[in-house]
């Protein structure tokens, strides 16, 4: 009987507590979502990489998403700081939509990290999009 008790004590897995990030999923997800023009959304592009960096993070805050207007960042802490700096400069405000566009092969972990960085920077409208 004591063996049974020891078995259940050992076999019971005490899980790490979980927390929840609240995400909005508006009627139409994606870059062409129900976002009023002429608001220019901030787009966070996530692309897996095979090099030294596991993930390439690019941020665009202009209508032209060409190479010149994209900011390349090292990690998600830098992403959060960059988003905060955009707000501090008055380029955007908390109502500016943030679109997280990830390549198909991007792990879910990185998408959630990008979402969390947007929440840290206190943006209210964050949506998910695919990036073909």
């Amino acid at each position: 009987m004591f063996n049974l008790l020891i078995f259940f004590l050992v076999a019971t897995s005490f899980k790490l507590p979980e927390a929840l990030l609240t995400a909005r999923v508006p009627k139409t997800t994606g870059i062409a979502a129900s976002i009023a023009v002429p608001l220019v959304p901030i787009t966070i592009y996530l692309q897996p990489s095979t090099g030294d960096q596991a993930l390439i993070i690019r941020v665009s805050s202009s209508i032209r998403s060409d190479a010149a207007s994209l900011t390349v960042l090292e990690d998600f802490i830098e992403l959060a700081d960059h988003l905060k700096s955009l707000k501090a400069r008055g380029v955007v405000n908390e109502s500016t939509p943030v679109v997280i566009a990830a390549r198909n092969a991007t792990p879910w972990d990185h998408v959630v990290d990008a979402y969390n960085a947007s929440v840290v920077a206190q943006f209210k409208q964050i949506v998910f999009a695919g990036w073909e």
């Binding site: 019971t12 927390a19 998600f76 092969a105 879910w108 998408v111 979402y115 960085a117 998910f128 695919g130």
Partner: protein
Amino acid sequence: MIKYFRTSRRITWQGKLNLTPLVDITFQLIVFFMVVSQVVTAEREPMQLPSPADSQAKQKTQADRIVINLFADEAGQLGKIKVNAQPISDLPALVDMMLRLGPVARAKGTSVILRADKTIRYDQIEPVLKALSNASVGLVEIATEMEVIQQ
């Protein structure tokens, strides 16, 4: 005249410990662990959840909810799918289920919780998010590991 008699018989102390309460407590503990381990694993089966740095996630205590579990297989692809501990055959079946349950969940104010393994590719989770958005769910809660702040 008082007479004293010596006797050779020694009075020995026969101490007996009653183990019955100990056994009762042990059985209670066994039953407790048996029941608790079942309750905890029903909806929240083990998987590697995302753990963002400086997490803004909060704990949820609401009982009425739809919990979507997306498990990864060894190759990092989407494997098992469960909704409130009920197995779902594949992704299209999950999408159909969300399209049916979504409006009901929204009407009742039921929260929808998405627990997905952090290694699953985004293209396998995006259809679920799209289904929830097409079902006008509105708000989805993404489960993450809670950050332990070391002081």
